[in-house]
Assembly symmetry: C2
Homo-oligomer: 402 residues x 2
């Protein structure tokens, strides 16, 4: 059995914690697994290096940033190998280059193109625990590249895929994926299983355990992820392909909340071809991030258009809208809304899931300002002051605490 | 004109200091030089990483130490490149591998075997200031190696040699090579010039500006070194091949002092073949470092043998000597002696240089316990309490303050 384990910055955020990780790795080894361990930089280290670079430049060159930032993971990899060797285990630390991780040319946000597993396989057959510096690779020209925030997760998933590992265990300070944020709903339950698709929706809605790129890659390569805590012995959450039976049983897997939302509603927009494109191009030019977009069917030659932006971008959005004065009747802004979403693959095959949400919120006097749905998600924009209440109401109505 | 500049740990020991270095580099650039800059890790960084490793193991694996320790220089190289780019200069940071530095397989104390200058030359012709992470290379298997203490000096000299640079400027917090330690003799003068041979003697006698491996390599490759301070505009000291004229002029270049010496004198050693070898083999077995060795011509079938060891190794030396009880009449130890040395290529061709030293010390009531000479050096063991006085007396008698 070959397992890839990835330990995040908090899990290796100090020498004692690295020792704790070494003990966990040793235990897995003693239980008989071949192991490839991917490590992040010690927590705080990457930010420290970014601060260093920003001392000199607000916009430091990305190529040099990659040489700078890739050093943190090398330190952790070497230290963990040394700790394991001292415990009597054969271990070898590999840089991204030595682990055969080849990326494209995009500095600071490179994509993994191929993994040459020769060195990895030979170290594994020599009986070594292989420790890989996460977050980094080299491109075809031998330049050092990094994979962007959350890049060590990507390294781990890609290695698990290339090595056809039995599982990819992602360790952090959270012991799995929850039905919702336990700080909002103390009855939130840890999920034993969640499908890639649901995880993708939850991640894009702010669940911080795993980022979308890693989940997408895992889905593509068929890598089974287990999200676990390095500070407990709890089982964690398996993230994998959804199975038929599960779909029947679970309608809704989780409730997500994003409070950093502001709403823009445009009424009476001239319904001429390309008007929406014009509006959103202009917003993009100003680097305003659009989240939800809804458009009603037009009537009387005009249409209604609504979208949400991060709260600190609403003023810029207002400025853009003013330039469209002649194209719309009125614009309405709400700077304190929240997006609450229900996610579940079960929705695909069950009607009425969304209706349950709408009526539960209505019963509690919560008005829904915008709705957007996908096959496995329903997102609703509501007044921000009702955000936590809405999460608890929905958590209960779908019996997620059971 | 192509110049290699190397900045040591103190010179880059903080963000402001790196900025200061960037300004110096920019100035050299604006004066028209092509530049290859070699940097050390920020001061304290390498020791911090060693402490980290020692938390896990007293004897960490050297291969992993190299991955660990090589990270510090990468950070400095990236930051300096970013600082220069912000000042409007084209600059590129290269790791040891990217700079083409190929070493042998000895981890933590590798020797540079070859330098492939293709990338360096192409970056230079593209108009870039090239910043190289010092102290590191890779071996033929792609393993990361480091060059040992003072390794960044070695990187700089080797690069200067491979690129046929016009000079290799070594920047530290000292502005050159002095006739003796200015803390002992305030009249000590900075030398404008010193030969490789003299520098080798001075370095082995404790002058810390340059280590012997770098000077040896510079001599071998004919690299002109200039030792300078990064904190002043002073001219520094040129270290190069000695020239005829200089030899005539300067008898003695400097006075060196080593106070960490203890003397062992053996009287009436049985003069049988191999006895000296036996004694020194046994000392070597106990890892005792021998510095000076002198042996008098034998008389009456016995000989007198003397040597010095570091003061903290004298007890171990005594133990070894006890095992030779039957081979010698008496052993005499002095745990507080000092070695004072005069160094100068001029001695080669001038007799009487040593005699001047002996009589000057005698005039001041300083007894010489042992003497050892080479072509360009005379070392004398004296009572430690006279050490500083001896340095000043010799400094004056050779008119080094003139």
């Amino acid at each position: 059995m070959l397992v890839v384990q990835k330990y995040g910055g908090t899990s290796v955020g100090g020498l004692e914690r690295i020792e704790n990780v070494a003990k966990r790795v040793a235990k897995s080894r003693e239980e008989g697994s071949d192991l490839v361990i991917v490590v992040s930089a010690m927590s705080g280290e990457t930010n420290k290096l970014i601060d260093y670079a920003n001392y000199f430049s607000k916009n430091p060159s990305k190529r040099e940033m990659d040489i700078l930032l890739s050093s943190g993971e090398r330190v952790t990899a070497a230290l963990l190998a040394i700790a394991l060797q001292e415990m009597g285990h054969s271990a070898v630390a590999l840089t991204g280059r030595q682990a055969g991780i080849r990326t494209d040319k995009s500095h600071t946000y490179a994509r993994i193109e191929t993994i040459n597993t020769d060195r990895l396989n030979s170290e594994i057959s020599n009986g070594n625990i292989v420790i890989v510096a996460g977050f980094q690779g080299i491109n075809e020209k031998g330049e050092v590249t990094t994979l962007g925030r959350g890049g060590s997760d990507l390294s781990a998933v890609a290695l698990a895929g290339a090595l056809k590992a039995d599982a990819c265990e992602i360790y952090s300070d959270v012991d799995g994926i929850y039905t919702t944020d336990p700080r909002i709903e103390p009855k939130a339950k840890k999920l034993d299983f969640i499908s890639y698709e649901e995880m993708l929706e939850l991640a894009s809605l702010g669940a911080k355990v795993l980022q979308n790129r890693s989940v997408e890659l895992a889905k593509k390569m068929g890598v089974k992820i287990v999200a676990k805590s390095s500070f407990s012995e709890n089982d964690g959450t398996v993230i994998a392909e959804s199975k038929g039976e599960n779909m029947e049983e679970v309608l809704v897997s989780g409730i997500a909340l994003d409070k950093n939302q502001a709403r823009v509603s445009l009424r009476g927009v001239t319904d001429r071809p390309g008007i929406a494109a014009e509006i959103f191009s202009k917003l993009a030019d100003k680097s305003i991030n659009i989240d939800m977009i809804i458009q009603n069917a037009s009537e009387n030659g005009t249409t209604n258009l609504g979208f949400t932006v991060p709260q600190n971008e609403i003023e810029s959005a207002k400025e853009v809208m003013e330039s469209f004065d002649h194209d719309l009747e009125s614009a309405d802004y709400d700077e304190s809304v929240a997006k609450v979403s229900i996610v579940g693959v079960g929705m695909k095959s069950h009607s009425g899931v969304a209706a349950t949400a709408f009526s539960a919120l209505a019963k509690n006097g919560i008005n829904i300002e915008m709705i957007s749905t996908s096959e496995i998600k329903v997102s609703m924009i509501i007044d921000e002051k009702f955000a936590e209440l809405a999460v608890r109401v929905l958590h209960e109505v779908y019996e997620l605490d059971k």
